[in-house]
Symmetry: C2
Subunit: 258 residues, 2 copies
């Protein structure tokens, strides 16, 4: 099976012009097949503010109203996605921007209402691996925005980490997938304020143990759980690191190992 | 050569929920290879208003400032394009949303400043026919927003009719192209207020003659000039009609003939 690298970057990286240019150059430097998945950042909130639209919160959780959905579709699927695509094309990287609706790449279901009605938020149910493989076979480089659809005409706001895991797992049936989550820390830290406390390799048992002892920051737990789930579902390598890891053969940071 | 239909619709058709649903059903009914190109409509102006941004005018011509470019990228490339793509997917039509930046489908140059500085407006210079043909070979249906890029990382606001002509001409090297421009009249009318005055077929000589006599409405002249240019460049059939022509073997309206 051919090697394929899946890179996830947060929206903040894309918002700042300097970090965006570094991201584009580093992503362009990755050899072989690759997929980029980007988050949304805070432009959507800024735009909502400008339009006098308040971000709805229920029980401290952010809710995607119909108006807010329009904004995230515009910002993630339009502004951010095309900035990345045009930037990569300028470097000679044949990028193709996608949302889950395009070629039905990622189908989701509107999150069922239980305690909280999250509004137009999608939980991923399937990835169109066949279409992605066809695009990749032509050297086309998918750049995926954190948006899905329900195959009934409804776009849905969707967590970029969830999309990343679903895409990486699906592609691991056709490719040897290396998955790199980039965020604002060097990797998983024993002490969140000390980058020297980086854990360079972690097994699931070690993770559970450190999580139980509350050594690992609570915010990291879903990322690690998702990462281990990917590893168990056929993804060959999973790294959690900062943007300096992009484009390197060994991304550094924390490698999740079996 | 295989047959291929290129449909151009204005943004207004996409904005109204009823006309959008009709468009999606009619476009879905077209047999064989097809491409949809949509205009922007007025959502961008409405959004600019909401954000307190004035649409800049110079000598009575609309100008695309940097802020306005962000809005059109969001609205045309995000909101409108994804509404159409998700709607077509719901009908089982395997749509793929594209701007000119995606796969470098349409490269343009920022319009040179002469009497008027139009800002971030693009004049089309090339179409990536090879990439479009690859997409079409898989049964993927391109849905193109009126945006291009300069291959130096800059997105550009671009006239949808110009994009349509460039795409139809480029594809006519690989396919027998039928080009259908849909607008708000039944076709070319001798009397703009009387749909019964429809001209069902028109040659270039007849067009020049009627234009000189000011029988044809001034607003129609660029459409017809572009249409005849397409016909002379290898496009097999060109029609100018309203949305009722979509999905019909003979779209009706006015056919441009040699």
């Amino acid at each position: 099976m051919e090697n394929l690298t899946v890179i996830k970057v947060g929206g903040k990286v894309v918002e700042d012009e300097n970090s965006l240019q570094k991201l584009l150059a580093d992503f362009n430097a990755i050899k072989g097949l690759k997929v980029l998945i980007h988050g949304g950042g805070n432009i959507d909130t800024a735009l909502a503010d400008k339009m006098g639209l308040q971000v709805e919160m229920v029980n401290g959780r952010r809710v995607t109203s119909a108006e807010m959905l329009n904004i995230v579709v515009m910002v993630y699927g339009g502004l951010v996605n095309k900035k990345v695509v045009a930037g990569l094309q300028a470097l000679g990287c044949n990028a193709l921007g996608l949302t889950g609706a395009d070629l039905n790449i990622i189908r989701a279901v509107k999150r069922p209402v239980k305690e909280v009605d999250y509004g137009f938020v999608g939980d991923v149910i399937s990835v169109n691996t066949d279409a992605l493989a066809k695009l990749l076979s032509h050297g086309f480089i998918p750049v995926i925005a954190p948006l899905t659809h329900d195959l009934n005409g409804q776009m849905l706001n969707t967590n970029a980490d969830d999309i990343t895991n679903a895409v990486a797992k699906a592609l691991s049936r056709h490719f040897q997938v290396k998955l790199v989550f980039c965020f604002d820390k060097k990797g998983v830290l024993k002490n969140v304020n000390d980058e020297k406390s980086l854990i360079s390799k972690i097994t699931k048992d070690e993770f559970i143990n450190l999580a139980n002892k509350q050594v690992i920051n609570a915010g990291m737990i879903p990322k690690l759980e998702n990462g281990f789930a990917s590893l168990e579902s056929g993804v060959k390598q999973v790294f959690i690191t900062d943007v300096n890891g992009i484009g390197k053969e060994n991304p550094g940071g924390t490698e999740l190992v079996k």
